[in-house]
Symmetry: C2
Subunit: 589 residues, 2 copies
């Protein structure tokens, strides 16, 4: 149940698909390149393997619990957090002004994969801190930034996001928490549900970001404001002083991520500070959404990678059946076990290249000097976000389940570890917006709202890739055929929604998840094909490690042959329309 960072694949993707060096050079980051990235990833990999991964089972068995003084984290977590923070990992992508290292988002993403693979429950804590830093960094005034950002960047304090309420889950319009003006601050009152790492004893302070309503706020989502509510109020020196009226009332008893405390938070006239403008909280949430949702998608990749490593080891070790010479056979030789391992491996590679390419779009949007170029990259980032969140997390369900299946009976026994990955993974398509929410975002805001233009731009690039495959002597005809069919499926699905959504008000909603999954497989397949093109070019030039590069050709082929055909089933669902989905009365269901 050890973990090793798959640095070779990450390195390949950063260098050859993301084109990391060019990305950094264009931004004037001359000192940052893929070699530096490799060094950073290697350092992170060591911490992940040696410190965080060994605590993963411990945290599952002995989850966070309520103590007399608040939440007590799992054994060993406080020390691990200190090592993590002391090494500066919280500040990787933070601006230099606030003590950060200002490294590209795509490198931060590659690094974060490690934390989530090693110990997803632990990694949720810095992930939430990153979200808080982003919200404060983008929207708070300079005084609040100066007070809170540096301590979050060093990891001395952690951050949380307080959004959901009992009657306001996917529906943020229903938020009821109140904020009453009181001089230079506000008094926040209400309860927040499902607050990840809402309390713990690992740091001196916790910085809660809270959505609440001002007294004069308009109803619905246009009346929500964002507040900073620290666990301990800061004294004149900016150090934690008086205890604020924010408390964790109880913890959820969850299927997985036991070490990540999921808190019911109570605010009773807690002192809070307004971030940005009143009634603009939802917009601020949206600016953080690309990063937060891509982070959860990344968790889907990371936990699948961890499950794969476990299953691969088991498949090598487990003997079943006997050869004629009396020697026993490791199950890794059985074709159906290979099918499962190859499904895991090829999907993981597709997930990884998509996660990193999507993360790099944020960098490209930020670094671009031409506003039109920046806008194009931002639109692509926006388009990718629900795919990364939705597809990677749904796929993680299948892959962690295969991890159990490869282990056979042992997979169902908790001590083996596969079951924990499966349980931990199940939250991913739910939090930070369910798959259904991602799919509506994809179909609505990202597709129909711009008449499918940004999606058409993506499909056009895919067509170009298909044309390249056709015009060069590519090794595998099956790849070309499967990829072309998948692009055609995506094109047809897009057109059918553009044509049909206006006339059928249920079409977008009922087709959305299949539509999203279709584009998940298609984007994954496309970027695998692009990876294979690079691998082939390197092989032809005699560059690189031929074992790795031919493996990439094979995983691409496997993905195209065995996973891309699922786009056909998704398309059929989209084309079927909403009639049979919506036809039954509630009583008939």
């Amino acid at each position: 149940m050890s973990y090793l960072h798959p640095y070779q694949d990450v390195d390949f993707v950063l260098r050859k698909v993301v084109d990391f060096d060019a990305l950094c050079a264009a931004a004037g980051h001359d000192e940052i390149n893929a070699d530096l990235a490799a060094t950073i990833l290697s350092e992170a990999g060591r911490l992940g393997s040696e410190v965080l991964a060994p605590l993963n089972r411990v945290g599952d068995r002995e989850g966070a619990k309520m103590g007399a003084q608040g939440v007590e984290e799992s054994p060993g977590f406080k020390d691990a957090y200190r090592q993590f923070a002391d090494a500066g990992w919280l500040s990787l992508t933070v601006a230099e002004d606030f003590g950060g290292q200002d490294l590209p988002n795509c490198l931060g993403t590659a690094v974060n994969e490690i934390w989530h693979s090693a110990n997803m429950a632990f990694a949720l804590c810095p992930m939430l801190s990153q979200g808080a830093m982003e919200a404060i960094g983008h929207h708070a005034d300079d005084a609040l930034k100066a007070l809170y950002l540096p301590k979050l960047a060093t990891g001395e304090w952690t951050g949380t996001m307080n959004i959901t309420e009992a009657d306001a889950g996917s529906d943020l319009a229903a938020i009821k928490t109140k904020a009453k003006p009181a001089g230079d601050h506000y008094l926040i009152t209400g309860q927040k549900l499902y607050i990840t790492w809402g309390d713990h004893g690992m740091t001196d302070n916790i910085v809660h970001l809270v959505l609440a309503r001002l007294p004069d706020a308009p109803p619905g989502v246009k009346g929500i404001s964002l507040f900073i509510v620290p666990k301990f109020l800061l004294d004149a020196k900016g150090e934690p002083g008086e205890r604020n009226a924010v408390n964790c009332l109880s913890l959820e008893h969850k299927l997985g991520i036991h070490a990540s405390p999921t808190c019911l938070m109570d605010f009773t006239d807690a002192v809070g500070f307004l971030v940005g403008e009143p009634n603009n909280g939802l917009a601020y949430m949206f600016t953080m959404m690309n990063h937060a949702r891509q982070s959860v998608g990344l968790q889907g990749l990371a936990i699948s990678e961890r499950a794969y490593q476990e299953a691969l080891q088991y498949a090598k070790d487990r003997l079943q059946g006997t050869r004629r010479d009396g020697s026993r056979i490791p199950i890794i030789e059985f074709p159906d076990v290979r099918r499962m391992l190859m499904t895991m491996k090829s999907c993981i590679e597709a997930m990884r290249v998509l996660a990193l390419v999507a993360a790099a779009e944020a960098d490209r949007a930020l670094y671009a000097t031409d506003p039109a170029v920046a806008a194009r990259h931002f639109a692509r980032l926006e388009l990718y976000t629900p795919i990364v969140k939705g597809w990677l997390t749904e796929l993680a369900q299948e892959l962690t389940s295969l991890g159990i299946q490869i282990d056979g009976g042992m997979g169902y026994v908790e001590e083996a570890g596969a079951a924990q990955h499966y349980r931990d993974a199940r939250i991913l398509p739910i939090y930070e917006g369910t798959t259904g929410i991602q799919a509506l975002d994809f179909v609505g805001r990202k597709m129909l709202a711009n008449h499918g233009e940004t999606l058409l731009a993506l499909l056009t690039e895919m067509e170009q890739t298909a044309a390249e495959l056709r015009s060069t002597p590519y090794r595998y005809g099956s790849v070309v055929k499967a990829f072309e069919a998948a692009v055609a499926a995506g094109t047809r699905a897009r057109q059918s929604l553009l044509d049909g959504a206006a006339a059928d008000r249920h079409l977008a909603g009922s087709a959305s998840v299949n539509f999203l999954m279709l584009f998940g497989y298609l984007c994954g397949g496309w970027l695998m094909v692009k990876s294979a093109q690079q691998a082939q070019t390197m092989l032809d030039a005699g560059e690189g490690d031929p074992q790795l590069l031919t493996a990439k050709l094979t995983t691409t082929r496997f993905f195209c042959e065995h996973l891309l055909p699922r786009t056909g089933a998704c398309l059929a669902s989209v084309l079927a329309g909403s009639e049979s989905t919506m036809a039954l009365t509630v009583e008939q269901l």
Copy 2:
């Protein structure tokens, strides 16, 4: 989290698709008919809802545990078991000679769905007793039958199957447990793993069926014999007396089914009695396999039904979003929630009709007076078995996962109940032969071994159904089209394996699971179409409840439109062959 037996759908399938009355009449069971079946099911449904279902959460929270005197079952289970046994439910399908009621297997199957829905961990205990009765009833001599069968049939004692060992899971050839002759009995020594309900305190005795090797046995699967090893040896009156040397050493700490003790069993010169002929144990296991595997498939249906009922209730109750008039909207109105509910409902109906039709093939094979007819039904039974086991249990993973997804954040919280179904369900594709084992059985013994003849006979019947659809004015063109495409996919997949398996030794193994799943969807779709034909006939004749019958038309349509297209993805995988699956070296994986 209550449970109600979906008696209307079961009644429809038994009357209209299984043709239960004709089946019973042909067997000379004039007193048994669908009306009697309805009465029996209603009685079982009451016990399931009122006694077993309320213990499902209790058993999950307070699972079976090791005590000083052996395994202690979950609170309330002993009393529930007594009610269950006292009502005669163990003896439903047992021969009259041994105190049974000799009812058809398909009715027993319909009843068993209830126990598994209500409390799967509990229901495993009588399920194992049924297996033990079948083994003893078919293969033991009259003296052993007289000693053990009546007490198992009343439920005074329970039965277990002791097959797996640490190094002999899917590979039974590796079984090492020894049986030493000692006069009229044998002394059994060895350890058995994953023994379901291997020990408990609910009954006076436990009858273990144990696979072991005689001293002179040939190696491999041809040297395995079957023994009865009672927990307490029987005295001269046939009552439990001296304690036998069989003990549970420990329990597995499992992902789910916590109330079902999964035992490591130790036999140290335990007294055992040979069942049937020496070295014939594997053949005896095979005769039980159809029933045992179909029972596990049935569990997949049953737990999906339970998960559906929970999710449906949640979707009705949970409010999110607000209408213009200020009223809030239950999420059941959202198209994507409908998509998930309809996926669950339509798949569950397809699973149920397949499970009952397959179970009826066992009755038809048994009741047929013409040996050729009996052989035909037995071949169909054999063909269905791996599909029922493989497809229903794999589908149960997706459906119980949808049960969580519909609940959103609440689904990840254990108290809501959805998570338990998801955890419980995960064992189903593993025990009683993994999905991979089912798929190899399907492709090898059930298909290639007879040159695809039995599968061709099934496909021919499906073609006839398609022809019927074409020649009658059927309401939904999309159903006809999707069903025809799926039949064509099945036909092509069959031919491609028949053509390719000889030349490519990895083809059958690497394609097998996709091949099995293809036929799962296809069989489910076919029987849904046949159900819809019956429903349409009734509607045209003004018979039956139009709400139910039109719902059946809609679920059939949904299944054909949204689930049958998956056969295309399965076919593509089968046609891709084994090359990319097997190409990587172990080091490249």
